[in-house]
Symmetry: C2
Subunit: 354 residues, 2 copies
């Protein structure tokens, strides 16, 4: 495989090369890469949504098993997902990367290919980019900008008593995919130690992921739920509260309840879980509901709607009602399959606690 | 000194603590920290400017001699400066930090104190924040959002033949401040090696910066030129091109010329340099003009105005005309004190070349 050192292009050359051929598609994108700032213009009846994420190698991603193209795709997607979570449409993105000498031009081309693919699929213009060096590893900073109708922005704090609690897709699969990759990495590393010449024996330790493709895809190539936002619009439903599930259902639901000053009751049996997730949890001897409640990175949507929207929501494909909102004093409760009640706890991924 | 581990608060606790008491001041800031996105709203006659910067410990800053409060101030300022460089006014900021266990809560309070001070001075609302962990060191990502009148945004590509080339303040001082700090750091480290018990002898190696305060201040606490933008507005001058001087005068001037498809002639004797900068260059036996041309981080403004604005510009305090724009074919030339001509070269700081 070819390897071109980044130093041969320099900072300005690199960013020019990576952003070559980018054409601005959105009316609101006035000027893109190449000046001190990107220039945007939005009509007065729109509100502007801005979100920013910082992704660190070794903390947020592991390049042992994450291909750079997937990393680019996912980095864009997690930011795009935040815009949908406010009931908005993503429009622009600014991307900064810092990288050590370990990375080649070809690596960055792969990363950008994934990034541009995600942006293309979601109608997002890349309007700014910046690269610099890092002493160790890869750091990615992405800012995504989107728009929403002035009175249609959905916050976390609007849940009302008796509202239905809804989730999209299924939960826990991205977390199970991560466990799978981590366990194969551990096997791979322990087997490598046994060989004198690791390179020659590499194929002997290639993992077999047959039948587990969905779990890997959920971890490596998450899809932000544009389809749900469009469907809600079409059916004239404005959720009372919404966020995307990046840290785990429990954690996000507690955010909505605490910011809305409400409680909730959700039912274990209603939490949507894919068949592969269940099989894998069994194989790893893990509690399935714990995975679905606390596993992060599914990038599904969690939202609440008034009880009066029940019929419309029941008819919506890909959305499941898992419980309802209560008075604050009732607490945030999980009702298990056998009818027991437990207080929900945020055991989601907390990168500062490790 | 007290040291509180960040793990005692967790990610959400930390960001809540750091952004406590922030009140949104700007009409365009609709919703700040605490949801998936910040929410903004700008009138239709404004264009929106967005800039983002990624700052890595060991590459962009050295905590050996940069106090965290200054780092917070400077991190905010370099982004604010990018907004002024487009002839805009900064309005909102989103701050993400990733930090290793080396940092305490008190460290982050210092960082945020500097950040909030810079924002306060420039009328900027902090509307988003995020913290996560890093394997090594401190990483800072800042996005700044500003506004400009629809037809008053100034790009790099608008310089016209015969336009005057102007710079604000003086150049090279921030670079000289950096040299001074680096040299004291080297002395400090070599002296520390001589002591058996370094802590006990620390005061013996405290550097003496008397008479060099200006250089240190330029490096550690740069000020974005809001005053110049306001003065240009007041005098009804709209520059034909503009950018801020972060990588050095030569490098920035070449950007303006190349993007405007023009050449330029600038005069060495006209480049504004402070007395302390000159003394220090002499002391370090460095070429003063090279420092002023290629030293970065002054965060002064470089802009071009039509020749017809000459009288107004000459009357403006803190602005100096250093040359003029020519046809592209004439090249980008520096005329030395003794009348020789040299082609300008970008020897500015290139973080990817090291």
């Amino acid at each position: 495989m070819q390897r071109t050192e980044i130093a041969t292009l320099g900072e300005f050359g690199l960013i020019k090369h990576l952003t070559e051929g980018i054409k601005l598609q959105n009316e609101s994108s006035k000027y893109g890469v190449g000046d001190d700032c990107a220039v945007l213009q939005y009509p007065a009846d729109k509100q502007i949504l801005v979100t920013s994420d910082l992704l660190m190698e070794g903390v947020h991603f592991d390049l042992t098993y994450v291909p750079l193209k997937h990393l680019g795709y996912k980095s864009a997607m997690v930011n795009i997902s935040d815009i949908y979570a406010m009931n908005g449409m993503p429009k622009q993105m600014i991307v900064s990367i810092a990288l050590s000498k370990r990375f080649s031009l070809e690596d960055m081309e792969d990363f950008y290919a994934g990034l541009r693919l995600a942006c293309q699929e979601h109608g997002v213009d890349i309007v700014g980019g910046d690269t610099s060096s890092s002493l160790t590893g890869l750091t990615i900073s992405i800012t995504c900008i989107g728009e929403a109708e002035k009175d249609k922005v959905v916050y976390r704090n609007g849940a009302k008593e008796t509202d239905l609690v809804c989730v999209t897709g299924d939960l826990g699969a991205a977390y199970m995919g991560l466990q799978l990759l981590e366990s194969e990495k551990a096997i791979f590393e322990s087997q490598l130690k046994e060989f004198k010449n690791p390179e020659a024996q590499l194929e002997q330790v290639q993992p077999d992921f047959a039948g587990k493709e969905y779990l890997l895809e959920r971890q490596l190539k998450p899809e932000a739920r544009r389809d749900i936002i469009l469907k809600l619009r079409e059916m004239n439903i404005v959720p009372t509260s919404m966020m995307d599930i990046s840290d785990g259902l429990s954690s996000e639901l507690l955010h909505i309840c605490s910011q809305s000053q409400k409680g909730c009751r959700i039912y274990e049996e209603r939490i949507p879980i894919d068949y592969q997730t269940a099989v894998q949890a069994e194989e790893f001897n893990m509690n399935l509901s714990t995975c679905a409640l606390n596993g992060g990175e599914d990038y599904e949507l969690l939202f609440t709607v008034p009880l009066s929207e029940n019929d419309k929501i029941q008819a919506m494909e890909g959305v499941k009602v898992i419980g309802y909102i209560t008075k604050k004093e009732m607490g945030c409760m999980l009702i298990t399959r056998d009818g027991n009640e437990f207080e929900l706890k945020a055991q989601g991924w907390n990168p500062l606690k490790d």
